[in-house]
Symmetry: C2
Subunit: 151 residues, 2 copies
């Protein structure tokens, strides 16, 4: 293994730990911990409108709204997490099952698609871009919230 490969391997471990810690913050519904993973200038394409959130302060409002719509524990399960890293830039994507009880009494239990683009700053990895979505039924324009991963 070359030095470069070792460095990339170590960075991949760091990123996996970062994503694990981020998921932990989500499960605890700890808004301050969640927000600490985002770069100040994060651009987020969230499952909820608008088209994009620019900046951590703007994006915090979406998280506030999302977290206030649920109660009790949040379950998450990542599948097919794939990480690519070079130097201070990294990309990862995964399918993420999120299950929770909603304030309106409904139960949500859906697989969503998550993409994270990270950058390293002062030795720490931050989420510089996040994209979360459901696929759409093109006939009805409805989000497909009950799909299961094929693998």
């Amino acid at each position: 293994m070359t030095t470069t490969e070792t460095a990339a391997g170590n960075a991949e471990d760091q990123i996996r730990e970062t994503i694990d810690a981020f998921m932990g913050a989500m499960k605890r519904r700890d808004i301050d911990a969640i927000m600490s993973f985002y770069a100040p200038d994060v651009v987020a394409f969230d499952v909820m409108p608008p088209l994009s959130y620019v900046g951590r302060d703007a994006y915090r409002k979406s998280w506030d709204t999302g977290l206030s719509m649920m109660f009790g524990p949040l379950e998450t399960e990542l599948r097919n997490l794939k990480i690519s890293v070079s130097g201070d830039v990294a990309n990862c994507h995964a399918l993420n099952r999120m299950a929770m009880n909603m304030e309106n009494g409904e139960r949500m239990d859906s697989w969503m698609r998550w993409t994270w683009c990270l950058k390293r700053s002062q030795g720490r990895w931050f989420i510089a871009h996040e994209h979360v979505s459901f696929p759409i039924d093109m006939e009805t324009d409805k989000a497909l919230t009950t799909l299961e991963p094929e693998q």
Copy 2:
């Protein structure tokens, strides 16, 4: 400017050219040209189901279906394209207006969110991961296809 910064600047130019050429292939609706930008093992989170496409051959079917649903010219307009690159890994994201006439007589004219994660192989940049989506109205589960960029 350091050597590293110059290299990153050149790579950013290459990626901008790659995305420009990719958009050109889309406008021409040239399926072979479109597919030539994807890595063989691309993982795509498309606007249409399933949750993910794994591999260029699988993803080509989605493009085939999408292109067969429209006729005449495809208009596209990228806004807020942001590129991050380090070594052989890069990511970019943008809002992309796509306007087209559909086979069923309807006109589609919508802003979508696009994220591309790229890798360089033998001097060329390939799309290793693509994520395309609409935000969702959480009350109705409907895709929000008429939103305008706020900036």
